[in-house]
Symmetry: C2
Subunit: 222 residues, 2 copies
Amino acid sequence: MRSNCGIDRTPKQLRFACCLGAGHAERWASYYGDHSVSRLFAFAATTSGEWRISSIRGIVGESLPPASHLQVRAAPESPARESPAWVLRGITSNERYITRSEKDQLVAVQEGLGRPGSGCAALIPIRKSAVWWALSQDERRAIFEEHSKHVKVGLMHLPPVARRLHHCRDISADEPFDFLTWFEYAPAYEEGFNALVADLRASEEWKYVDREVDIRLIRDEA
Amino acid sequence: MRSNCGIDRTPKQLRFACCLGAGHAERWASYYGDHSVSRLFAFAATTSGEWRISSIRGIVGESLPPASHLQVRAAPESPARESPAWVLRGITSNERYITRSEKDQLVAVQEGLGRPGSGCAALIPIRKSAVWWALSQDERRAIFEEHSKHVKVGLMHLPPVARRLHHCRDISADEPFDFLTWFEYAPAYEEGFNALVADLRASEEWKYVDREVDIRLIRDEA
């Protein structure tokens, strides 16, 4: 995962314990717990950083407070020397629905994060309803792909869109979202990206989404 | 979940913040993170408590240090006024493999934890290999049930065996195990329980288990 992620091109773990005041380091560490390594990521709303927030829009349910910048960090890296307005955290994990054939198709065409041309990004946190989580695996799979064509729709936008899915639901019992998906794409592909999210939002699967926020970002050249 | 769990018959959440020294409460809170509620459980190796450890046996890979008792608590409840020798934590979650038909069969016959006759318990932490987690969902499902008959084998021992599965893999990136399964049964059913775990250990699924510890417990009447 790390090798595909331009966000983490300069590993900073070794600096974590020594370059920050103790209070700051402890506050940041408290977002992660004590033992996390590179599968866990934090998205921190800050006042500076490499991604400038262009919009935060509540799609379903409560939105998130405004902020000017977002910092994306692999735990246990530290954020800027400021207290973030909010932090969301998620962990990369095994896929839950896709078949071998779908996985092979995705792997064949997808590209990694951090491409120089990817000047746009989106962070889309979603939560699914208790009804969704009470379904059995075969019921969720049928809605995910046979009815909603989640993979087929996604494949139409590869490789222009690069993505990384983070799971939140099993980090603790009261994370505000179940998933955080991070997308990167070129500014010229914005319409295509909007079509992708519109198609997913019109699907049967999205009837089970009970909170969704759409955060758009532009790489800050400053 | 809570209502089925005899372990938690006396809720203690309200006492958490006020009845312990601050240092103790902070150490315990550090096992959980700040925000966890009742899906998250901790298994703490202590010197007293309602479950006496009769054996700790490493089945595959490294075992766990010896201890005399185990305390099972829903976060954020506190353990005894002692520092546990070790603590494992896991979170209940949605099922990952079973179909609607299998789920209905299980629900129809399973019984909850905390039955008065369940004088024996087992905690079996397991970790699965990186090869397992790199498989696609359909490949893991085929090994889990079509080849290994995990559900069919389990159903043969219901309702004598009651169980609760806890996921650990997505709490953080370096939990020592992927799953903690807690079992309760009557002393007279011990042979049946041994047959259940022997059947699972002989299955294709268990070829992907790269760490397993078998902890047996007896309810402490003292």
